[in-house]
Structure formats: C-alpha cells, structure tokens
C-alpha cells in the first residue's frame, strides 16, 4: 500500500502541471502582499469605512492592524474561494487522466484490487491538497509575518470588531488550515467521483467547478425558503466555517476571552457534514469503479 502511494505521489509530482497550482498560489499571495505593503493604509481605511462614524482610529493604530496575521486572513478569504479549481486539476485527472493516457487498463491488469487502487489514488489527491495548503500557509502566514511583523489581530464582523491578542492567534490558524484541508478534500472527493465517469480530465474539472459555483451561489443567497431547506445540506455552506476559529467569545465588559471560540459546536457540525460528504463521494466513486468495464 505504501509503495503504491509512493508511486502515485511520484507520478503527481513528476508532472509539470502539478506545479501550476503552487505557482498560482505564490503569484496571488505575492501580489496581495506587495499591494498591502505599499498601500495598506488605504485598504484599512476601506475595511473600516463602516466604523469611522463610531470610532476614531489614528494612522499608527491602522498600521498596527496591518500585520502578518491580518494579511494572512485576507489572503485566506481570497484564495480559499479559488482553491477548489486548483484541487480539481489533480483530483479530476486521477482516474480520467489515466484512462485518457491509456495507462488505466495496464494498471488494472496488475495484482491490485480496484478498491485499493482507488484508495491510493484518493490518498495521493488528499496529500496533494494538504501540500497546497502547507505551501499557502508558508507563504501567506509565515511570509506575511516576516514582511509585516506580528501584532494583535483584528477581525471585522458585521456587529463590530474583535481583537485577538497576538499570542492567541497561531493555534487558530493551525485549526483553520486543518479545517480548510477537510473542506478542500470534500471538493477533491467530488472531483475524484466525477473522474470515474470520464475519459479525459477536462470534464471532471469543469463539472466540479460548475457544482461548486452553483452551490456557492445558493449558499450565499438570502432567500428564506432556502435557509432551512437547502443551505444546511450544501457542502459549500460549510466550507467557510474555518472563519469560526477567529470569532471569539467576549466577557460582560466586551473584552475578548483568550483561547475561546464563539460557536465550536457549529464548527464541529460543519466539519461532520463535510466528512459525511467525503465518505459519500469516495464511497460512490469506489462502488462505481468496481463495477465499471474498462474500455479505454
């Protein structure tokens, strides 16, 4: 099993297209960091435009807000919407790409069960997804900390702002990246399932993105009838729950409580739903693949 996984990873990381996603992330992170480095104050002004009537922030305070932790939060907000496409590039190619190359039939004449083959392929896709997130964490979090330094982190919410003390931030990011890994694995599992039905990777990639876009639109729509009937069951509704790690409890005086999470059960519920989706998508993929005649 381990040997087979090594082979899959070797194949993934030997392909030039694998590095497109790493390059794209690096480019976006770099562009955001450069923009905020040279024009961060304008960005903070824009961010706080709703609050300027209630609070009077001086320029020094604004520059303090513009630290590595906030920059990383901004980058995560931007990139986690685009990441499904990058993940689908590899997962959608897993089975369909092999069918297209003609290597699927040769691989399946080897003494490996189809379930084992699928498991290895999926694990390799998950490892790729995690590698992408680690790369993003290195650039967006540690890169930004290096360029902008660290300070207390401010999170803007519709009800106001929350200030998280700098020593209380890092574990939240570790949890958020962990959650994001599960969220992206859900997309990966969907793309993987669609890959079983196709003989070239374009179809599963486009289909995955179409589903993610439609579901995201439904998740974001404010139509009361959807709030209880549709939204809770869409995986896209739960993909953004990583933000919950940055929403903290406050005491009676309105001071944030270190180490607290405002609504941990909601995060855990979203996490469970995503895990169910992963099981459902992967289980369906294996079931279909085991019955499939290989005609390519």
């Amino acid at each position: 099993m381990w040997k087979l996984l090594q082979i899959e990873l070797f194949k993934i990381f030997k392909r030039p297209r694998t590095y497109i996603a790493f390059g794209a992330i690096a480019a976006v992170v770099f562009l955001i960091q450069v923009a905020l480095k040279f024009d961060g104050k304008s960005y903070i002004d824009l961010l706080m435009s709703n609050l300027k009537d209630s609070f009077d922030f001086n320029d020094d305070f604004k520059l303090d807000l513009l630290n590595g932790y906030l920059i990383c939060f901004v980058i995560l907000n931007t990139l986690l919407i685009q990441m499904p496409l990058l993940v689908a590039l590899i997962s959608g190619d897993s089975i369909a790409g092999e069918a297209n190359m003609g290597t699927l039939r040769l691989s399946l004449t080897k003494p490996i069960s189809r379930t084992q083959y699928m498991l290895v392929k999926f694990l390799a896709s998950v490892i790729y997804t995690v590698a992408l997130l680690i790369w993003m964490a290195v650039l967006a979090l540690f890169g930004s900390m290096l360029i902008f330094g660290t300070n207390d982190m401010v999170v803007l919410r519709s009800e106001g702002i929350e200030q998280i003390q700098s020593f209380d931030v890092m574990w939240r990011y570790i949890a958020a990246f962990g959650y994001a890994a599960v969220a992206l694995t859900t997309v990966s599992a969907l793309s993987f399932l669609l890959s079983v039905f196709a003989e070239n990777s374009i179809g599963p990639i486009i289909a995955t993105m179409s589903i993610v876009i439609v579901f995201t639109i439904l998740s974001e729509m404010n139509i009361p009838i959807y709030d209880q009937t549709v939204k809770p069951y869409l995986f896209t509704s739960h993909m953004v729950a990583w933000k919950g790690f940055f929403y903290v409890k406050a005491d009676a005086e309105g001071t944030t409580i270190n180490g607290s999470i405002e609504n941990l059960p909601a995060i855990m519920r979203s996490l469970s739903i995503l895990l169910i989706y992963i099981g459902l998508f992967f289980g369906s993929a294996v079931w279909v693949f085991r019955k499939k005649d290989i005609l390519t």
């Binding site: 040997k3 082979i7 040769l106 080897k110 003494p111 069960s113």
Partner: protein, 311 residues
C-alpha cells in the same frame, strides 16, 4: 498437455450488442496461441475479460486452474499483458515506467534486472529518455518489457506488432519465439497480421462476431494439401450460377464481391481450371492461395455469406 487458460460459455453483452457469444476455448501450456478475428470480432473484449478489465455477462474463466474472479490477484501476479496500444507515462523515462509497473506487479526488482529487461528489448541505451521522445516501435518494445518485468508465466499480447515496421515486426516475432522456446512461457497473441501468427502460433482460434469459428492446432486446421482458389470472372453472378449447376458447386467456399472462392485439394486445381474453361465462364484470373490469411478469409467471408443468405 495441460491448459493454462480454460474459457467456457463466455458471454458479454453491451446493452443490445452481443460482443462475445458462448465462447469456449483452452490455451495449452508452453505454446503460442493465436487469437484471430476481424476488427470488431470480439478479440479485445475477450482479452479484457481474461485480464478482469471487463466483467463477463456469463460464463467461466479459469487460469492456472483457478477461477479468475475468485483468485484475481493470485492469477494476475503470474500474467503479463499488452492491450492494444502500449500506452505508458509519456512524461516519465523508460526506466521509471518499468520500475512503476514492476512494483505494481507486487515484486521487488533490482535496478540491474530492470536494465536487463530494457536490454532484452533493445532499449538499454535509451533507459533514461522520456517515453514521449520514443518512436512507436520503441514504445511497443517498452510495452513488452513492462509486460515481462515480473517474469510472468502467461503473457497476453493484444496486437503486439501494431504500428511496427518490418524489422520491428521481425524483432517481436523473434522475441515471442525466444520467450516460448528458451523460457517456456505460454503466450496468447492476437493480431490482424495473420502471416505473422502463422509463423509463430502452435494453436489458434478464429472468432467472428463474438462466436468461435474454429479452434485447434495450426498444422491440423491448416491442411497443406488444401488450397483456396480465387477466380475472377467477367460476371461473377453468372459464373457462380454455372458452377452451382455443375458438379463444381460443392467447392464454392464463399461469396465475395469481386471474386469466387473455391476450396480444393491441390491435385484438383488443374482439373477444375480445365472444366471452368470448358464451361465458358469468362475467366479473368485464376489464383491459387495457400496461407493462413486465405484460410482466415475463407472462414470469415463464408460466415458472412451464410448470414447474408439466411437473411
């Protein structure tokens, strides 16, 4: 002689289409077994069922005396195959491809053994070149190396000479004979190049529209005392009617658009030729053929003829 493969009443339907119909055959150990049929005859479907790529609708397949579906892993460990084209990972080198398929075959193979395999198919010098830089012939040879990398007892080669030049075809032929004679392997070889199968096969099966037409040892099926005569005339319909009305009617083998085929013993050829001239049939050419290809054509076209008449 024991059988390595035993297939009984094999059927495969794709919806309404019957790709393989009640097919039974057995492959003797230590032989080259030719698998012949026209395009769409069901050869590849059958080979894919032997390799568990396609699930049969019904019927049984036993390989090495074991039920294929129940002992899949155990059987495939001892089988090497090329199916249609030898598609490999183009962005990897020959050595990397060979290593990958070696590991997938479940055995540990040393670097030296891998290089020996590449040397056997004449690719040692290009071991570190990416497969995308290979010619079709080189890919075909590398495909055979991947089929042999784990030293299988049974080798299934579906159209192994596809896209090869005459020298490449001769090389593959010699390799197949080497595997049988020197290493004692059993090979199932499907090919549309019937003249090639004639040179290497000990036994064979001919299938058409998923059904077995004939199976047996090549030298028994292919009687050297018999020949197929292709007669081209001014008007084939009139010629055929005249022949049917005469005592020569029994020799008519099949209907073809451009000729009349007769199956004769060699000593009958001059007699029949003389009688046909006397019948004033209007002969344009009289060509005696004697090869597996002619035998194959006579069987498959005869089958079509029977179906056309039946319809």
């Amino acid at each position: 002689m024991s059988s390595i493969i035993q297939v009984k009443d094999l059927n495969k339907d794709f919806g309404e289409i019957k790709a393989v119909s009640n097919l039974s055959f057995s492959v003797p150990a230590g032989q080259v077994y030719g698998f012949l049929g026209q395009n769409g005859a069901g050869k590849s479907t059958t080979i894919r069922m032997l390799l568990t790529l396609i699930k049969p609708s019904s019927g049984t397949i036993q390989i090495f005396g074991m039920e294929l579906q129940k002992h899949r892993k155990e059987i495939l460990r001892k089988v090497g195959a090329i199916i249609e084209r030898p598609d490999l990972y183009k962005y990897l080198t020959a050595l990397e491809n060979l290593r990958i398929f070696g590991i997938m075959s479940g055995i540990k193979i040393s670097e030296k053994k891998l290089m020996d395999q590449l040397a056997m198919v004449g690719l040692a010098e290009r071991a570190h070149s990416k497969v995308k830089t290979y010619s079709q012939g080189m890919k075909q040879r590398l495909g055979i190396a991947t089929a042999l990398v784990h030293d299988p007892e049974l080798i299934i080669l579906d159209e192994p000479t596809n896209g090869l030049d005459p020298q490449g075809i001769a090389d593959i032929r010699n390799l197949i004979l080497h595997l049988k004679k020197d290493l004692g392997k059993t090979l199932v070889v499907s090919s549309h190049l019937l003249s090639e199968v004639e040179l290497i096969a000990d036994s064979m099966i001919i299938i058409d529209k998923g059904k077995k037409l004939v199976e047996g040892k090549v030298n028994e099926l292919f009687d050297p005392s018999e020949t197929v005569v292709e007669v081209k005339t001014i008007n084939d319909e009139i010629a055929r009617e005249k022949l049917k009305a005469s005592q020569l009617g029994e020799f008519i083998l099949s209907k073809r658009n451009d000729a009349v085929l007769l199956k004769l013993h060699r000593e009958q050829v001059p007699v029949v030729m003389k009688e046909m001239v006397q019948m004033d049939i209007g002969i344009l050419s009289f060509h005696s053929k004697h090869s597996l290809e002619d035998y194959f054509l006579s069987l498959t076209t005869a089958n079509q003829y029977v179906e056309t008449v039946a319809n």
